[in-house]
Symmetry: D2
Subunit: 426 residues, 4 copies
């Protein structure tokens, strides 16, 4: 059989039985079997370097051994697996550990809400409590934001294809320009003007929600200065500041929370993806106590908000944050990645490339239609898992597991460069 | 320390660190540690009979041994844990097994969508595709429906406390009376009149969504005849019929799908909760192929739609459906439960009780304010996990694991009866 | 030229220059020139009996002589014509006269708001103040209601063609079944059940809005008993009761307000159409003082809310209500009309007719597709202006000026009967 | 009695019987009786110079003698007063005259829709047809726009006090920055970026609606170049361009349509206020034929869309546009007004004044809280009718009848200057 035929045969089940909505199995048409650290293998035994990390869910790499052992031990002991929000030891230990290792050292004071185990669920809960606390209905979000696919989260998401999928107009949200959105224009000045002018047509919102680095929107990193100004605006008008750190949090940018370098203190923080340790569904919403107390019991809930296996892995993952070593290592690798990104951009001017992002959340925006997609497709054929992002899939997005080493980064970047050469040569 | 003080000490972490939104840890103030079959134990070693089953998530009981073994083996082999919608063996095997064991024998033809691992997510995906296919925006749902807590699902949910939590008006939905909603009135005639009258103010909807037995809404079971009429209305006006079988499906009512006895063929079916085998987050949306093809790749997605541990347990759970034995056993136990429910109602006229539900999804509606809550609280103290449902928490809701045996049912019902006596004696 | 050609020539300007949205000039393709009392004449000198009264705007007939004289005199004296809501004598006199002749004798206490000179405008203002006072967003309206064409009013209107014209989904409203909507079912029981059940999915509304006789919706007259029950529901749940008396008010049903026989006391009443005396644009909203005081100055306004010519004619029209004579005369003519309607229905069983309405707001619902339209078209050819209403234009609607005499009614009914005979003979 | 007591006595009827929503009778607490040209007299015989013109409704002055005579004659002849959209001579003549005098000479091709006789009604009709034609739901409007008070128009209006009055969130609209909204920033670049970026969160709208000079919003005049760019954007993305010329049209800025100097060709134009000649309620919507044909008969309607007295005055008013003389005269007076505005600003630096507007639609923005209001109140006491506009009532707004002469302008400006001196001296 030819390669295409072999691939078709391999993917037959998905083609025949699974919904047309599936996406990753189209771009990476193989069956993945094993994974460890920053490597994955498919059923044909082919090895892949992972520059994707489960869309930011595997910051601690695949199949961390201690997490595996603890999860296995728990199952073996008939530990309670599913518990909604009943009391269990893994839930208790996670809460205590999170306070001790993450909140207290950063002088942050939040109540921890378990809203259901997905990113969109933490966002929906954040929007609800912000609206409830303020009695206002609208929320300001930003261009190219991505906050999730359920109607509440989707209403604050920028992507028109995703929004259109709702099948209904999306309300109670206003889209404002993210940092550096319009050339040479100060987007804070716009936002400020809209807020201060009672004739602007934009109501005082319940909240402003943002990602400090927009992952799906094209790895757009806001400047710390911009974030500080946003916080100042929020304080001035009593608007709640929600940081959606689902993708950029959990150390992705070099600190546990992505907003730490800005020195801001958000009212609500959304975490999911890597919070669950090694890929198990989990999400939490951090809410300042003075706002949290407005919740009624069960006012937002969800069946799977008690995933004990995830709590166990999550608690283990927090060990990485006991000292600064983990963060410093990420920052070092980030610097290495930056250097290489710049090098590639310089070396291949045909890409019309621009560097994007910060920490281990970087990208190359490629100003040639379709080129980023072609490069990523070629990289897959050569053993590198890397995807595009941005409104036109124009950004090659580097999201390796944080535990990757320099050798792994070099290997991955090597494959990427070969792919670029190959595609440009066509 | 007094009991209350001991309880406070035990629950201190949750009180101090967790959000005020928590609910079950308030009603059942202990820390659960172990669970097997239909029994749970807390950290004090106290045993509980489980008439709750993780709100319908543990139909196959706690910690099924084969599921445990298969999951442990997969983790041990560094199987890929988190995969979004990439191809993996557990996903492939689940798809094939689901077709073979569930769809084919029932002559049902659906594509399987993995929408993110929660009930609300499958509902949101169902609403989206229905709106997309029909080009219409509104959806008809029913009084006392519960479909989820994210804004799309919440808009078709009846409970005013939950709706109010949205903090925004909920749109694009119309609430119609469920079967037997108003005494002596035919709710189908009512619905039909609204649909056929172009001046009714109710637009032709994209879909009608319903639970055949409303779990959260008070264990209201629609008659099969009513369901058939709904299907007929849908066909007549080209409205998509969505069955939300998140709680009533997976064998809960005595057949895999709750709608089987009605002989209807819904356009979309939502499954979650027990589909994941032993409590791991998972959800699927079943969509008729002619509608499914309208999805664009990634038009609805979600990070955790590739929970491989759940796929493994889910595939194992499907073995129960290879023959009719499992279903027949559920039906037998359901009959036993019904008989006992009637007996209790007769024996304690002070309850002003009415039987509700079908299969192993039954309840007693108690027409005395606060009484159902008191009974459930007393039952917990005596070692039975059972909760209330209904708009005023007026229904004691029996949702034991389907694998429970007669002995277990007897034990649980015994505790319940003791609790009733105790509460009535006060 | 043939008749059709002559007609085309006559209507050429409208066909060529006016929008396709025009409607009456299509059904009655002529140019009207003169009008007096209950008669109209076109430019060809053809006389028409008016059973339409400007869709209920000309209750006092065409060109009442005293109104004409007073209006002319005012213009002659350079009286201020357009004054928004500045103080003017005609405004002052109308206010005083309305209190004296209408409100005081009926022991009604309302503030008078001038919301802009159209029916939809009074409805929009009523909805606003109800929402403002209660802090609730939704409003309950009824099947086949017609309240206006601007988005707020349209959201509480039933007709699907009109609603669809909005081009956007219409929100913040719930449609409930009007009196006698579903055969043999008690629509109050439905509404009550939805309101009392906190799980119904229908939020406590700001207001219930209704027409006591639905004009556009098919001349559906609610029973007095039903209206009383609605008022009781409103009181029980602190819902504001809005009566839209735009078409049924101003004496149309035999009393100044259509709701007088029910003995109810609405919180808000909407008046327009005939309030302006002889066809000049005017509308008022009557609001109980305790609710009215919640308005901020200018919170609802409109350029043409100071149409002084209308105020003059309106004040003159109120003279009709100084004694009971006018009302009694209407009631007598209504009885005469009823008798004839029944006679026609009996005499022409092919019509499958049902009588509708009350007062001088009556109709014959004809259960044969297209027949009502054919009869009205034929009637026009024979010199009678009468239109259809109802969701399928199935009701012949009798709305003669209230000042018509028995001779006029007989003449009109004679033409109608001839038209019926002619159409049935085809 | 003291003056305040006398005033109270005079305004007693309004205070006691009229709604709290009234506004102008508060600021100008007197009873107006007579009016001619640019002068008004109250019942005490006090004369006022009118720099308000009925909020732009009396461009042709009060009680134009020819209009008076024609209207009186028509009434005398028992001309049909109220006709919905039936054919009548005044309607026919208006249509023909409007085409001949206005459309044809400007090479504009529009169908004329009569949507109900108010500004908000023409806007509602414009939004409907734009949504219908494009199948899109949202409309872009601008900061400080004012389009009307019914829910559809209000949703594209900027003022937060007015919006808040809706009592419901306002949907299907996006507010974009008007020309010169943010200092030194190009608002076209901003708008363009949102439209071209598929991730912007702003959907492709059905229409862009704007006033070329924002009347209520603070007499903000867009530059012609900005208007041209808006038209270009609309063409590029197939967005309908709606010009709301309700206040700025009918010659107010020196040409019949306010947009003529920009050389643009809007898809839809809204006219009301002065279109009715001397203050009678009337509105029209001009729609390009290719879009107009999408209307169904009666898809938007309204009882008072056939105000024949208004048609007669309107037709007479069009005579002013047979030659250029009227327009040239307005332009001359506008230049005189501009000069004086600048003079005042220079002479009274305490005002911190900025000139606003163009044509006879000018203003002085005063950057001192409350000062503009104080000046206008004083001006009233001295015999000048002039109001403020802008989100904080910070702009003194000059809107004299267009037929005013230089003497009238001088007189009015003299009173204004005296008022300024008086207020500044306090």
């Amino acid at each position: 059989m030819a390669t295409a035929e072999l691939t078709d045969a391999k993917m037959k089940t998905f083609e025949e039985l699974e919904s047309a909505v599936r996406s990753y199995s189209r771009g990476w048409p193989t069956i993945f079997q094993k994974a460890k650290g920053y490597k994955m293998w498919d059923t044909d035994g082919i090895e892949y370097i992972d520059f994707f990390a489960g869309a930011g869910t595997l910051n601690y790499g695949h199949n961390d051994q201690t997490m595996q052992e603890k999860v296995i031990e728990y199952i073996r002991n008939d530990g309670i697996i599913h518990s909604l929000d009943m009391g269990t030891n893994p839930r208790k230990e996670f809460l205590e550990r999170f306070k001790e290792v993450i909140l207290t050292p950063r002088e942050l004071d939040y109540k921890v809400m378990f809203p259901g185990p997905t990113g969109t669920n933490t966002v929906e809960s954040a929007l609800k409590i912000a609206r409830k606390v303020t009695g206002r209905d609208s929320v300001i979000s930003f261009t190219n934001a991505f906050h999730g696919m359920t109607i509440g989260s989707l209403s604050v998401t920028g992507n028109s294809f995703k929004r259109h999928g709702a099948g209904v107009p999306l309300h109670h949200s206003v889209s404002m320009p993210f940092d550096d959105y319009v050339e040479d224009q100060d987007t804070i000045a716009y936002l400020e003007r809209f807020l201060e002018d009672s004739g602007s047509g934009v109501a005082l919102p319940a909240a402003i929600i943002l990602e400090t680095v927009q992952g799906e929107g094209g790895i757009n990193a806001a400047r710390m200065e911009w974030l500080k100004k946003i916080e100042t605006l929020c304080k001035r008008w009593d608007i709640l500041l929600i940081i959606d750190d689902v993708q950029a949090g959990n150390g992705r940018t070099g600190t546990f929370f992505s907003f730490e370098p800005a020195g801001i203190n958000p009212d609500i923080v959304c975490l999911s993806k890597s919070i669950g340790g090694f890929g198990l569904p989990m999400a939490i919403t951090l809410i300042k106590p003075e706002y949290d107390k407005h919740w009624g019991p069960g006012e937002h809930n969800g069946t799977f908000r008690g995933n004990n296996l995830a709590f166990i892995a999550a608690t283990e993952a927090l060990s990485n944050w006991e000292t600064d070593d983990f963060a410093l290592a990420v920052q070092e690798k980030a610097a290495f990645l930056s250097k290489n990104v710049e090098m590639i951009i310089d070396k291949y001017p045909e890409l019309k490339g621009t560097p994007r992002g910060r920490g281990l959340m970087q990208g190359i925006a490629i100003d040639v239609d379709g080129l980023a997609d072609d490069i990523c497709a070629e990289a897959f054929n050569r053993g590198l898992i890397v995807e595009t992002s941005g409104p036109n899939d124009e950004v090659i997005k580097f999201l390796p597991p944080l535990i990757i080493d320099i050798e792994g980064l070099e290997k991955g970047l090597g494959i990427l460069e070969d792919s670029i050469k190959h595609v440009l040569a066509k």
